[in-house]
Amino acid sequence: MKYMAMVGDKEFTIEINHEYEILVNGERYEVDFRQLPEGSVYSLLLNHRSLEAVVEERDDLWQVLLRGELYEVQVQDERAYRLARARGTAVSVTGEAVIKSPMPGIIIKVPVAAGDVVKKGDTVVILESMKMENELKAPRDGVVKRVQTQQGASVEKNQVLVIIGDPHEEG
């Protein structure tokens, strides 16, 4: 089986044909891969390099905890990857950026309005939660397409607050 694994802007082609060896971007690796009885803990010997990781699936992403770092990996088999490409729904830096509430809280301020041009890093929502004011920033340059909340509103985790579109899009 051939898989495409994406971590941030890095992409790997991983071919798994046997229990004991894989091809990563065409390069051969010897593997010994075990799931431990302790929940989602895995032990991998990769060319004898010993790696212990916790791997869990969440919101269609694989979360991999490895040496303190938490990686979010999107894995698609070759067929799904091609289909997604064809439909244009593969991970991409264009299209809408959706600002969701990362936790329940109260909206203190929405310093942007629909139609505003925003730069990456601009504050688009100030959310109070855990007694702290948290500034939610624009993940990239663009134009505010929609503001779906207002000052004083109580919001749930993952509620969509603001949608940012491409700079060149109209309206």
């Binding site: 694994a5 941030g8 890095k10 991983i14 990563v24 895995y42 490895l66 303190g68 770092e69 088999d77």
Partner: protein, 506 residues
């Protein structure tokens, strides 16, 4: 009872008016000293460690703290019902509320902390400043609290920029705003008032000159009811973000024996000015020229007390309990020696790669680092729910070494060993800091994290390995799923088999 509201007497049963790691810390000290313990818990904490570790536990209401852990009558009611003779407030919640300490002593309960009067004076920024100033303790220039916005703006020009807007009832950086130019002042005052109102129910603010390049150094004190006060050396707490401490160490890289003695003696004088008893901390701002200014006194146990415990060998919580039982200090100043180096990393549920946004959810796995020189204080366990109701600290990871370098190497090793899953944590932030040249060379101030430290340059080391692991797990799961739906191969029904397999997997 003393006139200033101090009650010390022997007790055998103590109520812990707190939750989380600090409640567990206090429980441990009590059990070591043979004191029976009473825990209180909200709806959110029935399964919490502090409930399970305690000898007895009582429900005190819904998850929001203001309906449970902050309700004085409920705590006192549990003390009555359980027959507790003393109360330890921990930190946060009711720990620095004078009316709580007063209510305890009025009910005949020993409050494990300072006299009511000392809490009251040190809890009021203005009174605290005036009191310690009169005792010869240097303070940072600033205004009194309670001025209206126009008066604050006028005073700001006299103090000069940059300055800080601070909440009179504040603490932990809530309601605090730095201001670098006059145009930003009105907005900062409004934001600080709003945050202070939300956090403390009191929007009173004041201004204080900002000492640039300053380091936050604090002195740990112990005082008994007979008036003996000693200092247990300093803690370096400059690594903060939004005035929330993230990393603390003891001793400080910049404090030598001579400066330690001077700061220690000034701290003792400040405590003596309020007839302080029990454990307390004087926070100082130390400028580039080694001048130091009184910031405030924390009239309670501090989050970061373990680093002092590791380098002095003194169990601060046990000492608190002994002092509250009316015993004389077992140490004199010359008995206190700092040996080795200790560093604490606060592990928070937040995303260091996304503006440190708090992360909530269920902890699906918690395996703590262990081994030489490692201590973890935590209230979190597998299945624990990180909610917005309480603070986002998951644990305190504390490492000890003979030297600072050894402590740092241990910390790197321990951070790598830590397995915590279910929420995002700031472990990568700590790893990045432990590799930063500025941190390694001890060259940082209270602005370092916010202004000169970035996670953007961090290149996680094992991207390909993570991709491989995810693909292997996805592959295995896909194969198992396809076996489940393959028809006619097993005589039991596929659904039955699938649920068995699911159970096996857990």
């Amino acid at each position: 009872m003393r006139e200033d509201g101090l009650l010390t007497q022997k007790f055998d049963k103590l109520l812990i008016a707190n939750r989380g790691e600090i409640a567990v810390r206090i429980l441990r000290a009590c059990h070591e000293l043979g004191i029976r313990t009473v825990a209180v818990y909200s709806d959110a904490d029935r399964n919490a460690l502090h409930v399970r570790y305690a000898d007895e536990a009582y429900h005190i209401g819904p998850a929001p703290a203001r309906e449970s852990y902050l309700v004085i009558e409920k705590i006192l009611d549990v003390a009555r019902r359980s027959g507790a003779e003393a109360v330890h407030p921990g930190y946060g919640f009711l720990a620095e509320r004078a009316e709580f300490a007063q209510a305890c002593v009025d009910a005949g309960l020993v409050f494990v902390g300072p006299p009511v009067h000392a809490i009251r004076v040190m809890g009021d920024k203005l009174m605290a400043r005036q009191t310690v100033q009169a005792a010869g303790v240097p303070v940072v220039p600033g205004t009194e609290p309670g001025l209206n916005d126009e008066a604050l703006v006028a005073a700001a020009d006299q103090i000069g920029y940059p300055l800080l807007v601070k909440a009179a009832a504040g603490g932990g950086g809530k309601g605090m705003r730095p201001v670098y130019e006059p145009e930003a002042l009105p907005g900062a005052i409004a934001a600080a008032r709003r945050e202070a109102e939300a956090a403390f129910g009191d929007g009173t603010v004041y201004l204080e000159k900002m000492i640039e390049g300053g380091r936050h150094i604090e002195i740990q004190l112990l005082a008994d009811a007979e008036g003996n006060i000693i200092y247990l050396g300093e803690r370096e707490c400059s690594l903060q973000r939004r005035h929330q401490k993230l990393i603390e160490e003891a001793p400080s890289f910049v404090v030598d024996e001579e400066l330690r003695r001077r700061m220690g003696e000034v701290a003792v004088a400040a405590a003596r000015a309020v007839n302080y008893v029990n454990a307390g901390t004087i926070e100082f701002l130390l400028d580039k020229d080694k001048n130091f200014y009184f910031l405030e006194m924390n009239t309670r146990l501090q989050v970061e007390h373990p680093v002092t415990e590791l380098v002095t060998g003194v169990d601060i919580v046990q000492e608190q309990l002994r002092i509250a039982r009316g015993r004389r200090l077992r140490f004199q100043q010359e008995d206190i020696r700092m040996r080795g180096w200790a560093i604490e990393c606060r592990i928070n549920a937040e995303d260091p790669y996304n503006n440190y946004l708090p992360s909530t959810g269920q902890i699906t796995m918690s395996r703590l680092p262990t081994g030489p020189g490692v201590r973890v204080d935590t209230g979190v366990f597998t299945g624990y729910e990180v909610t917005p109701h309480y603070d986002p600290m998951i644990s305190k990871l504390i490492c000890y070494g003979e030297t600072r370098a050894e402590a740092i190497l241990r910390m790197r090793r321990a951070l790598e060993e830590y397995r915590i899953m279910g929420v995002k944590t700031n472990i990568p932030f700590h790893q990045h800091m432990m590799e930063s040249h500025r941190f390694l060379s001890g060259q940082f101030d209270t602005k370092f994290v916010e202004e000169r430290f970035s996670m953007n340059e961090r290149e996680p080391a094992d991207v390909m390995e993570a991709a491989i692991l995810a693909a292997l797990v996805a592959h295995r799961q896909g194969q198992q799923a396809s076996q489940v739906v393959a028809p006619g191969e097993r005589d039991t029904s596929n659904w039955k088999w699938y649920s068995r397999w699911e159970r096996l997997r857990r």
